[in-house]
């Protein structure tokens, strides 16, 4: 019997335990599996490696990836290279947090429950909404859940989404809509923002929700104050997807009249990690509280009158309501919600504004140079991302391949998702980018094109 470091059963243990069970062999415990479907032999898959061999193998795989420490990143499109305060990794590495299951036993889960309660509080404070849940898979799936909630709440099936919303979020929305029987209507953009005239003519009495992202996929800030009355006039719901980091400077979605607010907390201290795991957040008005998907933690008291926290409003959830649940979500992204909470604890009231201002400064410094050479595609206000139009006939993919050879991670190839924006590149400039890196990047880019 091959020994293994995670398995404590010795040969003696095995024979003692089989004796207690009254079985002659291990095979006897599997005798209820019909022979015709038993697997014989060794599965043809990757072989076992010892700990040192495995570390070496994993290092070799990791080293074949160009990462942010060695390649300044100007790519955003929903995943950003922000500074992650060092305390976060130390705290989420406390195994009482990361090796725990969902807090089903509140008496021994007060730490996680309070952490989620604080996360909900942070999201409500940041968005100016009344109720937030414990997290969703990511910002994109959260937007699809917003459409589902709106359809249930309004008993309408028509969902209007701006084409300036993240293309992958819209793809997920299409998949979701097919399942739920929703009608998706996409509204175009002009000068980098949602076309308000087109939006106005698409909203009708069958409209459940209007989905807007701001700053939108192009980095432009939407004129939500003009959109909101158009939505509510037809008694539809306004769902806003926001970048939480931008809320250090930009008006809160609650103040702008949103009914549902979603987004991805990745900018708040979560590693990029090829795009996951991140953490979706989901907040609603008080009116929609009992329709919110996923876990929710509430404050209560114990039998001694002491403050404590529990999972609550569970009558919405799949383990109680089964086919009538508001969503099928069970596992969420709790550990990443913890990252976001620790990030906001670390940055605090002042730091959240300061880091947002730094992003604004850096991105506008970079954009100014493109503007001077006539390459800035849109003139709408933006936060930390903007679009540049490369010379006619430039292939962005080729440009990015050349940039990575020079040690820079270039911007998102918009032509991939928007045929009309072929030759356009979406750039993100975060607080991590230095003046030298920005100058160096623009120099290389100009050389290549």
């Amino acid at each position: 019997m091959k020994k293994h470091r995670y398995i404590p059963m010795t040969e003696q243990d095995q024979s003692d335990m089989l004796a207690t069970i009254g079985a002659d062999s291990v095979e006897e415990l599997f005798s209820d599996i019909p022979e015709s479907i038993q697997y014989n032999g060794t599965m043809p898959m990757s072989e076992a490696l010892s700990e040192p061999e495995l570390l070496k193998h994993m290092s070799e795989l990791a080293e074949r990836n160009a990462h942010f420490e060695q390649n300044p990143c100007f790519l955003g499109a929903g995943i950003y290279d922000h500074h992650i305060p060092v305390v976060i990794n130390h705290m989420i590495s406390r195994s009482e947090f990361y090796t725990a299951y969902t807090p089903y036993q509140p008496e021994i889960s007060q730490g996680e429950l309070q952490a989620i309660f604080e996360f909900q509080s942070y999201i409500c404070e940041l968005t100016d909404m009344k109720v937030a849940n414990a997290s969703m898979y990511d910002g994109a799936t959260a937007l699809a859940e917003a459409a589902a909630l709106a359809s249930g709440a309004t008993r309408r099936k028509r969902i209007i989404v701006s084409k300036a919303v993240h293309p992958e979020a819209r793809e997920i929305l299409q998949t979701t809509a097919h399942g739920l029987g929703l009608e998706i209507v996409e509204v175009g953009f002009s000068n980098g923002v949602t076309n308000i005239d087109e939006l106005k003519s698409s909203i009708n009495e069958d409209t459940a929700a209007v989905l807007i992202q701001s700053p939108n996929f192009f980095g432009c800030i939407e004129d939500v104050r003009s959109i909101e009355p158009l939505v509510h006039e037809k008694k539809a719901l306004l769902a806003l997807s926001v970048n939480p980091l931008s809320l250090g400077l930009l008006e809160s979605p609650g103040k702008l009249g949103a009914d549902i607010v979603v987004g991805d907390a990745q900018p708040l201290g979560i590693p990029a990690a090829l795009g996951g795991p991140t953490c979706g957040f989901f907040a609603v008005t008080e009116k929609l509280m009992r329709r919110i998907p996923g876990r929710v933690v509430g404050q209560t008291t114990d039998t001694d009158g002491k403050r404590g926290f529990v999972l609550t409003l569970q009558a919405r959830e799949q383990h109680i309501r089964r086919e009538k649940a508001t969503s099928n979500i069970c596992s969420n992204q709790a550990l990443l919600a913890l990252c976001a909470s620790i990030y906001m604890s670390t940055m605090g009231k002042v730091g959240m504004q300061e880091v947002a201002q730094l992003n604004l400064n850096k991105s506008h410094y970079a954009a100014k140079q493109f503007s001077e050479s006539g390459k800035l595609a849109f003139n709408a206000p933006f936060f930390n991302e903007f679009v540049v139009k490369l010379p006619e006939g430039t292939d962005v993919k080729t440009v990015n391949s050349k940039l990575i050879e020079k040690g820079y991670i270039g911007g998102f190839d918009l032509g991939y998702s928007y045929p009309e924006l072929k030759g356009h590149m979406l750039l993100a400039v975060t607080e991590r980018r230095t003046k030298d890196e920005i100058d160096g990047f623009i120099h290389e880019l100009e050389e290549i094109i």
Binding site: I7, M9, V26, L29, F30, P34, Y39, S46, A48, A62, R64, A66, H67, I79, S95, T99, A100, Y101, S109, Q110, E118, Q120, S121, E125, S135, D138, T141, Q174, T175, T176, G179, L180, G248, P271, A273, L274, G275, G276, P277, T300, D302, G308, Q314, H319, E323, S331, Q333, A334, L338, I342, M344, S345, T346, G348, G351, V355, P381, K397, I404, T434
Partner: protein, 485 residues
Amino acid sequence: MKPEKKLIFELSKPGRVAYSLPECDVPQVSLNDVIPESMQRSKAAELPEVYEVDVIRHYTELSRLNFGIDNGFYPLGSCTMKYNPKINEDTARFPGFAKIHPHQPEESIQGALELLYTLQNDLAVLTGMDQVTLQPAAGAHGEWTGLMMIRAYHENRGEKRSKVIVPDSSHGTNPASATTAGYETITIKSDERGMVDLDALRDAVGDDTAALMLTNPNTLGLFEQEIVEIANIVHEAGGLLYYDGANSNAIMGITRPGDMGFDVVHLNLHKTMSTPHGGGGPGAGPVGVKSKLVPFLPKPIVNKKEDGTFYWDYDRPQSIGRVKAYYGNFGILVRAYTYMRTYGPDGLKRVSEVAVINANYMMHRLAPFYEVAYPGVCKHEFVLSGRKLKQYGVRTLDVAKRLLDFGYHPPTIYFPLNVEECIMIEPTETESKETLDGFIDIMIQIAKEAEENPEIVINAPYDTVVKRLDETTAARKPVLNCTCE
């Protein structure tokens, strides 16, 4: 009584900071110059102002109010709370995995793509499927993805099928996912052995059957011995078989869903493949399918070119579309891959053998004191009923709460729904005989306490930071955050 733990918001003192940002090395931008006032934040978010030591002590203290696998035995049935290896945490944090962007040029992430490609293939072999998507973020997400593929398959054949069949012992996510995929759920009763009732199944299937969703071994820990016949019944009616992989820890290398007749499988990597649950997530729920469903897989999947390089394959015209932004919970996939390479195929088989020995051992030792719901051989978990204790006024909930005083995480309780006063125990393979014996002895002691001095059990727990909490008021008058106007 220990004092109440303060909220981080209650530690705030204006003027303190816990962050460090660089001086700005580019010209300062005036907000008013670039963003209209109507778009600017009118009132700053009231986030706490604390210094770094506050942050560290606050979250350290919170962690001490929590119970994870590293704290002790966690026999939570159907959740596979096995040890979460430390090497997995280290590899996932390598900069080459943690600090890469999903839209980087493919040539700059070949190591990551190779890992995903290998994991897709290894999971396909493990489950007996032809192709795997790694996109779904969790088990329920995988269920929905699988059902959407089943839907696309039927629609592609020009068939309208509206119903998904689930047994009454199924996870709540099964019917919830069916609804999300646009299906009506038909729930069928289990037979006296706790298995799918073949007659009930025969009555339920028809030309409107899209799929049967099944967990095997089922949530009672029993292997569905008639699985081949079950598959025949469903397939003959034109339906497909969906495998909920929550209980895969029982069968690795021993039998495969693909060989049992299943068409679609999801695995919970945060169960079977040891990735940590993180206090509720993140997970990963890859889905494998048989060849007839491959065209419908979400896009992209990772493929290999003839020259040996790896790429995102988006050229999938019949795909159901995308189910998750980017490519799934990559950080979790790195952990799962690390885990699978720790064991290799023979090691994974041994994992399942030991998990099953442990469960049978516990069941036999506990049988004289708690009623075994369905006697016989079990797989990785088993279900007890606490109904014998009801005569003393003690319920399963009380037994669970009493276990807290002895430093154990209680088993899953009141699930599955078809067993009265249900106690569902899953020990996993990473627990020693001594640990199991210690837990069993306490379970026996609690059964005796219930008989001799039930008040002790009914009023438990005693040694926890809070006592039983008022969940009714929490739901009736919800206080869901501490933001004050």
